[in-house]
């Protein structure tokens, strides 16, 4: 008889599904099966159980080989590296709990670090746009219960957020949307013919990199002003039609992703997407929601917000918080050679940063805290494996709509392994000792 754990939260993507069920072996030690999750979510749980998993910190030797060290030694190394550095970068923070982020923030403050999260290569442009024009938004349940016009702009939930459409945006039969997907008009804006686009009622296959023009044209159309015959490869008739569809809905929502945040125009694309939403509110109800990637990148922006006042690109090196994306953003710091140590937790810049930046990480004193062996851990000087948050230890995470949900502990971590929060606490204590001694 397998034991079933219910209400499990998936620590993978910003959809943060909280209805998973996990079947455990009789002794409760092994995950046998994961129900309700999508394939990527289920894999996250099942992979945590790999038999060849690293369970102790590893220090890279002169010859490139790895040598096992204790957590205390690893914490000592990390603390010394951070205290000795003039300008260390503490990066990542997206795949971990808010409590760990909180301890990390204290370390960053103690050592005067630059702190950045994965928004820097993802929805950072969104955060900047929100600072420019605000953001009319709603929780995902509000959308499930009310939205009858759903736009996916530059995102492909069918692959990146597989359960988004079934839980929140297209299929649910909500309070005012009792007919499920039949209650909704689905519009996809994407230069590619993605699997999401194939499901749409309307697919605007715009020319790559012309999002700003098309968004601008929709604003014009909403106001009933004149358009040229074709904008961004889309005919004006179709633009007017889409504008009408949006205006005639009772509740319109725009979801957007990396296709707009990192194509030409960046934060300006988001500015104008938000402005479209703002304009629509003069005719009907409208909301806009970024499709945040990592399951708790949102939480890291929140924790830093209440502790320092800024959601990413924090520079604490002068003893007080400064915020200047483009200057205090990780890739800019790396490329300009301003850093003298790199600390990574809850992300894999080795896989997501430009090669130029990764090369710099490889040259610097560096620590990578990650349950897996990753491209980042491979180029780091110290790799500290920790328990999986959301599988082997609980903790709070914020969904893409900022709703905080408590992830669950489902199984014990391997004997003697620390959680990232516990390891960070060791580092913080050691940092305080070192600074007290100085």
């Amino acid at each position: 008889m397998a034991k079933i754990v219910t209400d499990v939260v998936c620590p993978f993507c910003g959809t943060l599904c909280d209805d998973l069920e996990v079947a455990l072996s009789d002794d409760g030690k092994e995950i046998l099966e994961v129900y309700n999750a999508c394939a990527i979510g289920a894999t996250k749980f099942l992979h945590s159980q790999a038999s060849d998993r690293l369970t102790r910190p590893q220090k890279k030797q002169e010859d490139g080989s790895w040598k096992e060290v204790t957590y205390d030694e690893a914490a000592d190394y990390t603390a010394k590296m951070l205290v000795d550095a003039k300008k260390p970068l503490m990066y990542g923070w997206s795949s971990t709990s808010c409590s760990a982020q909180g301890v990390g923030a204290e370390i960053g403050e103690e050592v005067g670090a630059c702190m950045d999260n994965t928004a820097t290569v993802c929805h950072g442009s969104t955060l900047i746009a929100v600072q420019d024009v605000g953001v009319p938004s709603a929780t995902l349940g509000e959308i499930a219960n009310r939205a009858d016009r759903v736009v996916f702009w530059g995102c492909n939930p069918a692959h990146a957020h597989p359960r988004h459409m079934s839980r929140y945006s297209i299929f649910p039969r909500g309070f005012f949307t009792g007919k499920g997907s039949k209650s909704r008009q689905m519009i996809v804006v994407d230069p590619r013919n993605t699997d999401t686009a194939k499901m749409a009622d309307v697919h605007l296959q715009l020319e790559q990199g012309h999002d700003y023009e098309l968004l601008s044209a929709i604003r014009v159309a909403i106001r009933g002003e004149k358009l040229p015959d074709v904008v961004a490869g889309i005919s004006k008739e179709q633009i007017y039609e889409v504008a009408d569809t949006l205006k005639s809905g009772r509740f319109a929502v725009i979801f957007f992703g990396m296709g707009v945040t990192h194509s030409l125009g960046k934060n300006h694309n988001i500015d104008i997407a938000i402005s479209v939403t703002r304009d629509l509110n003069d005719y009907t109800k409208a909301a806009i929601v970024p499709m945040r990637g990592h399951y708790n990148v949102t939480g890291s922006g929140q924790v830093w917000g209440w502790q320092f006042g800024f959601p990413f690109c924090l520079d604490l090196t002068r003893g007080f918080a400064r915020y200047n994306p483009g200057d205090s953003s990780s890739n800019d710091l790396l490329v300009r050679d301003e850093l003298d140590a790199v600390f990574v937790l809850g992300s894999d810049p080795g896989a997501h940063f430009p090669v130029r930046s990764v090369k710099k990480i490889a040259q610097l004193p560096s620590v990578c805290i990650d349950p897996h062996i990753t491209p980042t851990s491979a180029v780091s000087k110290m790799h500290v494996p920790v328990a999986f948050v959301g599988v082997e230890v609980g903790g709070c995470a914020y969904r893409m709509d900022n709703v905080p949900i408590e992830t669950k502990k489902v199984v014990e971590p391997p004997e003697g392994m620390l959680t990232d929060e516990e390891f960070l606490q060791l580092v913080l204590n050691r940092v305080r000792e070192l600074k007290g001694a100085a």
Partner: protein
Amino acid sequence: MTDYLIKNGFVFDPVQGINGDKVDVAIKDGKIVDAGDVTNPTIIDATGMTVMAAAVDIHAHVAGPKVNMGRNFRPEDKLFNCTAGSGMKRMEGGFSVPTVLRTAYLYARMGFGFSMEAAMPPLYARHTHEEIRDTPIIDQGALPVFGNNWFVLEYLKENEIENTAAYIAWLLNQTKGFGVKCVNPGGTESWGWGLNCETVDDVVPYFDVTPRQIVSGLIEANEYLGLPHCMHVHGNSLGEPGNYGITLDTLKIAEGVKPQNDFGREVVLHNTHLQFHCYGGESYASKSFESKSKEVVNYINSVDNISYDLGVVTLDETTTMTADGPFEHHLSHMNNLKWANTDVELETGSGIVPFIYNPKTFIAGAQWAIGLECGLFIKDPMRAYITTDAPNAGPLCRYPRVYKWLMSAKARDDMLDNTLKYGDKIRERCYIGELDREISLYELAMMTRAGPAKTLGLSHMFGSLKPGLEGDVAVYPYNPETDTDDPEKIEYAFGNAAYLIKGGKLIVKEGEIVDMGNKRTFWVNAKVNENPMVERDISEKFRRYYTVTQNNYTVEGPHFVPNPYVIEVDATK
């Protein structure tokens, strides 16, 4: 634990009738005791200073999702004011929406011991509690919002008080909330469709219930449960010219309702930030707009079961934030600044817009005047509390400035004559010109300590220096005999407490923060009889309409509420 004896200060404690007498105040084991009951105490010399119980804030927005949105979307609010940590203190930043650390340090330096977070969206309760947890020193509670909640709308459509009460009890327990807040009743649900409820008799679309029914039902349910705090309302049509009639309509709903509770609370309705609800006229133009504070406060003076807080406009650049979603949308169209909004499934909504109260405009000056009038027309200062609805009418750090204006006619005249561009016009359209009342230190202690503590149902812990109460004492560098010459001295003293003792711990010593205290989160656990129907409704709504499961809704665990103070209420009989 160290004992303390605060000697030789001028003590103001309306609860005990102490009005500036030189009385020694003693603290032992974290509680106030008779001066004779301490042995070998640490002596605090308060000669020439003012001694009061620590202040109690009944309404401020200092923690939670909209507060943090205010921080994150306004980097400009931190220009030139981020400071490094020193001593025990960590880094700080922010003017109108300070970081949690600055909030705590500010409260301590202003001599506060307790603050009520005024609006907690239940689905975001974890967020609110994470911020409260990270705000050291002061005790805090949070009021979940109920005025647009689908359960409440459905029950109150049928006037089902018992079911409403059972649901409230359940939600307070789930979210670790303190009491019942009601913001723009029905209006925020209507905002789900881009609409609003502008009077107490507008009907909420689909739910077919009116703000009048919501307010009345929530008051009744609140008294049915016997909660420590009363129903706390922000009525319909906040900020609209001519809204005072709607305010009176709202207040009159409480007519004849008697308080039922074991906490010594005497009111059944608290109207927050009254200033925003006392407007006459038809537009913001000086030829039409007028103050109706006298009419509204006179009504409140004529009854005994209503309290309010002022919401004084401080003429700063600030950040407005409220669960009144349609109001913020409206505001964004007035000033064309950035606008954030979050509608919350089945529960509530919120909006955030930066706002500049410009002393060179008629309307900002008139709002400033009306807020002060609300404080000056009150007959019984135990029912009028000083706030800025921080940060809506003004930042938290401006409280001492508001005290100055209330306590000094000279300071008000100086504003009208020298700072406000339309001072004469404001004298004409508002009542400020006819008011020469100056709030005394004794009355100040009522309006910032004894009064709010009583209305929160916490007078057994806070608001006075009576033996047995919490050892929460503030000492201000203000000499009531010699410092009356210059109103600036009031503002300085109340922003720079010389000493703060909180829960018997010395937090501020000679103006410096020296301890992070023993912060507690207050919440109310109300027991009700089993109610299978409400239980079924709850599980049904979670199954069908919420995007989190019922089990994942509950706020639990030491990382959200590490140091709870639970007030038990038994409503089973």
